[in-house]
């Protein structure tokens, strides 16, 4: 079980800014596949994943209780 935060166009696409996901530990790339298959989120190849407010790599593991954020290409400044 972990929390997923959505921003920008992903938030609008999903119609919500937060998902609670019931899952065993999975890697970031497994998680992205899950989002594509189950939640039909698009353009995920451009999207970074942060675990507990740190950018994560595809091989990093998402653990129980983590806060995971989907970070589309940023456009601050």
């Amino acid at each position: 079980m972990f929390t997923v935060l959505l921003f920008a166009h992903l938030q609008e696409e999903a119609g919500q800014n937060r998902l609670e996901i019931n899952s065993e530990e999975i890697t970031v790339s497994e998680f992205k596949r899950m989002l594509q298959d189950k939640y039909k989120l698009t353009q995920l190849d451009q999207v970074m994943v942060a675990i507990n407010e740190e950018f994560a790599l595809n091989d990093d593991t998402i653990k129980n209780g983590d806060t995971v954020a989907l970070i589309p290409p940023v456009s601050g400044g």
């Binding site: 166009h9 451009q46 970070i71 601050g76």
Partner: protein
């Protein structure tokens, strides 16, 4: 009372406050960058902008940029404030202030900060035009992540 050097706010930013934060008797140069909302972008007229942030992570990434600058340009002082929410034309979206004993470092570190903000700080801009709206991403501004990720990982 500790002043925050790196902030995400939803109120107007006063650049002079950031200048104060980096003032020092050792400083000979203070540079500021003020990012404002431009009316025209590539022939499209902007009516207003909307900024959204993943706030705690954005503050953390601004601090990371501060650390990077300390490492590259020792003895500089840096303060960054980014505004979120709805911004009108000419409103200030971001202010970066850098002080340094010598001017070269103050310019370089300041420009480095804005480049990094556009790479690693989770803030998104939605443009509202007269006839539509769209979230902008780096790729639209031709600043791709060369290896599919921002070059920061701890």
């Amino acid at each position: 009372m500790k002043e925050e050097l790196f902030e995400i706010v939803d109120k107007p930013i006063k650049p002079e406050i950031l200048v104060k934060k980096v003032e020092s008797r050792e400083a000979g140069a203070i540079t500021t960058f003020i990012g404002t909302v431009r009316e025209w972008t590539k022939g499209e007229k902007t009516v207003y902008l909307e900024y959204q942030a993943y706030k705690p992570m954005a503050v953390k990434m601004l601090k990371t940029i501060g650390d990077e600058i300390q490492a590259k340009w020792p003895k500089t002082l840096v303060a960054i404030t980014h505004r979120i929410g709805q911004l009108d034309i000419s409103d200030i979206a971001v202010v970066i202030a850098v002080s340094s004993s010598h001017r070269k470092a103050a310019y370089e570190a300041n420009e480095y900060a804005i480049e990094r903000i556009k790479q690693i700080v989770p803030i998104w801009k939605k443009e509202h035009w007269e006839n539509g709206e769209s979230w902008l991403g780096d790729q639209l501004e031709n600043v791709p992540y060369p290896d599919g990720k921002p070059s920061i990982k701890e």
